[in-house]
Structures are given as structure tokens and as C-alpha cells.
């Protein structure tokens, strides 16, 4: 067994038993990357990393024993470029570490030097909107890995990363996790500090782990979670030892299956696989109940107003002054400042970024604010209430993660609306702020992975880990590896 193919908890055990060390793990990982990266393209700027991996000198404290973590290109790493895979942030070298990075270092982890590929500013569901090149799905190199954390998901699936961090605004951790056959968790809004995460939509964004199994997800969340004075939306409540919620069985756990997630648009093959997963949970002693989340159908339109409105405001900071690209105005121009802004942003942002900034600006503009933005905020209330009501009587909800398996590169890039619908099952969790995981639950006939989504009450990640772990241990989907 090669070191790179193991989970973090397996590696930690080996290191504790002095059978290997962090240096050997990193070497093994580098060898694996040089073998498969040309095919997968999970990382960006691999050849031009300025900073050598910050492997802690003493990694024996903190519990992560120098295990390398790969990081999405929108999470700030001091002195190591963080560009959100956008031309407008080319060359940006953050002067500080994101809180999650500081926490990883405190836990004795190695922060991997190369960052993972993503859709520009996390705008997308396929990683095709990267200003570099698309990432390829390790299970089918002609298919997308999902997005926007497609680089992180593909790296974990291809054993090019032991584990990774991504960010999830509308499904950007869970949908790529499903497409690549790995475990992806979006924590409760407020569980993990967003300080140093380059903002997309501040009321929805969360950083979370992409891992090879549920136990690793629990370990990595524990390392990054917790209150941070630098993020006023992080919540000051106890972070449990998530590992303790594993292995206790799920007898009597009440699981809801929302009928609105099993309608037209869901690939029949995926439906069958998810139905079988639900039967498996029943077999393990869970109590399954059909439920209704009546406002599900409105989640996508609500999201594309709220997320784009917040993005249009957040991305105003990219103006050619403080960082990144600047395109100068024509000499002697009377409005040189405004012209510089416009040229810089016109050249620096890709198509999807422009589309979203314009949509969000429109939704917030005079005359349209009430009809679009305010309307969306009100329907968001209804979506949240749907969850509040069912969670009064349930422990968790189980759904497919995505209506399809990974689609081909190029298939949806010209049809933004079709692309948006790829997130139809993941968006609600962000709007309601609740935690949700995607874990492997089978394969299509073509051999593409399928993801099972489990959602729970705010700050009840323990329930998610408990149910996900029980299912995972009763199956072996998570042990399958793509042939590369």
C-alpha cells in the first residue's frame, strides 16, 4: 500500500507507531502528483510556487502529525499566491493566513504549497470557469469534476491529496465531492471562521473538508472549527470531539426523505442508487419517513439573486488599486479613474464572473431592489421555515447530492441556466445555514460516482457524522479508486 493512497487517520496511526513520518508522506504525495497531475490538473501554479511547504519542525503536537492538507485557491495563505483562479487577482500574495490555515498549522498539519483549481471566485459547478485550465474528473478524464471546489475534490479522488479544504456557497464542496466519489462537508454557517476566505456571498459561504472518508472529515472539521474574533459571524459555541460521534449505530434515528427532491430532472439511475442507500439506512435501524419541503423549487432562483447581489458588492474591491491586475486608462482621458476601473474589471473578470456581478448589480439597483432582492430574502425565510418545521420531528434529511452524475467538459458551459440547475439539491442548505455532507453511495453503469447528501439541524454536525459513518461502514463505495 502506497502512503499517498491512505486516509489521514490511517497515516496518523502509522506515524504514531513510528512506521512512517510526515516527510515520507509528503514525498509519496509528490511522487503521486508527478505521475497523475498531467491527466487530472487538480492544482494550479504547481511549477511556480515560491514558498516551500511549511512543514512544522515539531509535528508531534496538535494531533495532525504533519499530514499535508491541500487548499483551494480562494483561502489566503501568507506569502503564497491566492488568486481565486482569476486573472484579476494574478500575482496576489496574501500578507496574512486565513484563520483556518493558522488553525491547521497549530494542529501540526503541513499546508501544501500548491493550491487547488476552482471556478473563478467559486462561480460555477464544473471548474471550467478557472482562468487556468479545467480540471478533469479522475473517474472519466473527459468529464468535469464538479465545482467550484473541483480541484480539491479531484485531488482527493486521484490520491494527489490526502485531504483538502474547499468552500461551499451553494454546493461547491458537496457537488464536486459527489462527482468525484469523495466525502465533502459544508459545516453550519458560523461553525468555521471565514476570515481570510476571499468572499463570494458572505451570508452563505462556509469553508469545509473534502476527504477520503467520514472519519477524516470529522478530524479535519475539528481542526478548523471554532469561534474567531476576526469573523463576527462565527459562533461562540463548543466544538465537540466529532470522532466520538462515530461508530455508535443509528438505531431509532429519524430520517426524512423530502419528496420534492425525487421529481422530474433527477436521473432515474441516480434515483435508484439513492433509494437503495435509503434502504440500507433502514436496514441499519433508522426510521425512514417521507416528508415535504414545499419551497424547494424556489431555492435556485432565490440563490441566484442573493448570491449574485452579495457577490456584486464583495467583488467591488477588485478595482486595480489595492491588489491584482490594473489596466491603465487611455492617456489624457477626462475620467481616467473610472475608465481604469472599467478596463481593469472588463479584462480581469471572466464571463461567469461578469454575468453574476451584472445580475447582482441589477437585482440591487434602483427600481428592481424590491422585485428581486427583497423578494428573494422573503422566500429565503420560507425555505428556512420548511427546514425548521421538519427538524422539529426529525434527526436528519437524506437526498441525492446532485440530479446527475458528472457531465462532460463543455456540455453546459454555454448554457448558464442549465449549469445553475446542477446545484438544485445543495443550495437550500446554504440558504438555511444548516450543515450537509455528501458521501459516495454507488456508481452509474458508466462507472461514475454518485453522492448521498445528509442534512441536519444547525450545529448538529455530530448527527451527520454519525449517520454518514454508519452508512459508510456498511458499504465499500468509499474504498473504490479510479484507474489513472
Amino acid at each position: 500500500m502506497e502512503l499517498y493512497s491512505l486516509t489521514a487517520h490511517e497515516l496518523i496511526d502509522l506515524i504514531k507507531d513510528k512506521k512512517t513520518d510526515a516527510k515520507q508522506v509528503l514525498e509519496s504525495l509528490r511522487a503521486r502528483i508527478s505521475f497523475v497531475e498531467l491527466k487530472v490538473g487538480a492544482y494550479v501554479r504547481l511549477g511556480e510556487v515560491k514558498k516551500v511547504t511549511s512543514q512544522p519542525e515539531d509535528s508531534s503536537s496538535g494531533g495532525l502529525f504533519g499530514i499535508p492538507v491541500s487548499i483551494k485557491d480562494n483561502i489566503c495563505t501568507a506569502g503564497n499566491n491566492t488568486e481565486c483562479c482569476s486573472k484579476i487577482l494574478q500575482g496576489f500574495s496574501p500578507p496574512y493566513d486565513a484563520t483556518v490555515i493558522s488553525k491547521l498549522k497549530e494542529s501540526g498539519a503541513t499546508v501544501f504549497e500548491a493550491k487547488t483549481n476552482m471556478d473563478e471566485f467559486a462561480f460555477g459547478s464544473s471548474t471550467e470557469n478557472s482562468c487556468f485550465a479545467p480540471t478533469h474528473n479522475p473517474w472519466d478524464l473527459e468529464a468535469v469534476p464538479g465545482g467550484s471546489s473541483g480541484g480539491s475534490a479531484a485531488a482527493v479522488a486521484a490520491d494527489e491529496a490526502i485531504w483538502a479544504l474547499g468552500s461551499d456557497t451553494g454546493g461547491s464542496i458537496r457537488q464536486p465531492a459527489a462527482f468525484c466519489g469523495v466525502v465533502g462537508l459544508k459545516p453550519t454557517y458560523g461553525r468555521v471562521s471565514r476570515y481570510g476566505l476571499i468572499a463570494f456571498a458572505s451570508s452563505l459561504d462556509q469553508i469545509g473538508p473534502l476527504t477520503k472518508d467520514v472519519q477524516d472529515s470529522a478530524i479535519l472539521l475539528k481542526a478548523i472549527a471554532g469561534y474567531d474574533p476576526c469573523d463576527s459571524t462565527s459562533v461562540d459555541i463548543n466544538v465537540p470531539d466529532y470522532k466520538k460521534s462515530l461508530g455508535n449505530g443509528i438505531k431509532g434515528i429519524k430520517v426524512g426523505i423530502p419528496r420534492e427532491y425525487f421529481i422530474e430532472g433527477l436521473d432515474p439511475e441516480i434515483k435508484k442508487i439513492v433509494d437503495e442507500a435509503v434502504d440500507k439506512l433502514r436496514g441499519l435501524g433508522a426510521l425512514i419517513k417521507e416528508i415535504s419541503l414545499p419551497h424547494t423549487t424556489y431555492a435556485v432562483p432565490v440563490y441566484y439573486i442573493i448570491a449574485t447581489a452579495e457577490a456584486s458588492s464583495n467583488l467591488a474591491r477588485f478595482d486595480g488599486v489595492q491588489y491584482g491586475l490594473r489596466v491603465e486608462a487611455n492617456k489624457g482621458s477626462a475620467q481616467a479613474m473610472i475608465e481604469m476601473y472599467k478596463k481593469t474589471r472588463g479584462e480581469g473578470f471572466g464571463q461567469e464572473a461578469k454575468r453574476r456581478i451584472l445580475l447582482g448589480t441589477f437585482a440591487l439597483s434602483h427600481g428592481y431592489y424590491d422585485a428581486y432582492y427583497l423578494k428573494a430574502l422573503k422566500v429565503r425565510t420560507l425555505i428556512k421555515q420548511d427546514f425548521d418545521q421538519v427538524f422539529a420531528e426529525l434527526d436528519c434529511i437524506v437526498t441525492p447530492t446532485s440530479p446527475t452524475s458528472a457531465f462532460k467538459i463543455g456540455e453546459k458551459i454555454e448554457d448558464p441556466l442549465k449549469m445553475y440547475l446542477s446545484d438544485i439539491y445543495t443550495i437550500s442548505a446554504n440558504l438555511a445555514g444548516i450543515p450537509a455532507i455528501s458521501l459516495p453511495c454507488g456508481f452509474t453503469k458508466k462507472g461514475l460516482p454518485v453522492g448521498l447528501q445528509i442534512l441536519a439541524k444547525p450545529f448538529d454536525e455530530e448527527m451527520i457524522f454519525k449517520v454518514a459513518h454508519a452508512y459508510e461502514q456498511a458499504t465499500d463505495w468509499h474504498k473504490q479508486k479510479p484507474k489513472l
Binding site: 474574533p229 488599486v321 441556466l417
Partner: protein
């Protein structure tokens, strides 16, 4: 509600994004389609519903007003396209 090329041009000005004629053409059609889809929201009556702009029941998060070390100016300016001394350099704003 429809969005035409003229409206989009105006919105692009508000967002400080220069659009090429071809982009304007393509984006106005795409945004029309997307807004058409978003108009589905009008099917629900939200008259008596309060808006949710933030999901957590926390507000007015305050801290002690204490001075502490911040980023050195030099470091903060390192990524700027242009700087002079302790300042960002921008194109001339006032004649």
C-alpha cells in the same frame, strides 16, 4: 421583467465593467433567460413574510475598543499596482 441592452449597458456602468459589443449581445440574452427563470418567484405571495438577510440570530457583535498591532503599511502596499511612500497611486481624479 426584461433586461434589454440599454439597461445592461447602464448596469455595467454601475458595476464598473467595460463590456465589448459581442459580450453585451450575449450577456443580455443570457440574463434575460436567467431573469425569466427567477420570475418564478412571483408565484408565491410573500406579503406577510419577513425577509431573512442573515441566518443566525446574532446582531451587533461588539468588542472592546482596544488598540492592537495591525498590518505594517509596507506589507499592506506590497500587492498594489502602484504605490508611493505610504500611499496607493491612482490615476488623476481632479484636474
Amino acid at each position: 421583467m426584461a433586461i434589454d441592452k440599454e439597461t445592461l449597458q447602464y448596469v455595467a456602468h454601475l458595476a464598473r465593467i467595460e463590456l465589448q459589443p459581442k459580450e453585451l449581445e450575449k450577456l443580455s440574452q443570457q440574463l434575460k433567460d436567467i431573469l425569466g427563470f427567477i420570475d418564478n418567484l412571483n408565484r408565491i405571495n410573500t406579503e406577510k413574510i419577513n425577509p431573512t438577510s442573515h441566518i443566525l440570530p446574532i446582531s451587533n457583535v461588539l468588542r472592546q475598543d482596544q488598540g492592537k498591532e495591525s498590518l505594517p503599511v509596507k506589507k499592506a502596499l506590497e500587492n498594489a499596482a502602484g504605490c508611493q511612500g505610504e500611499f496607493f497611486v491612482v490615476p488623476k481624479v481632479i484636474e
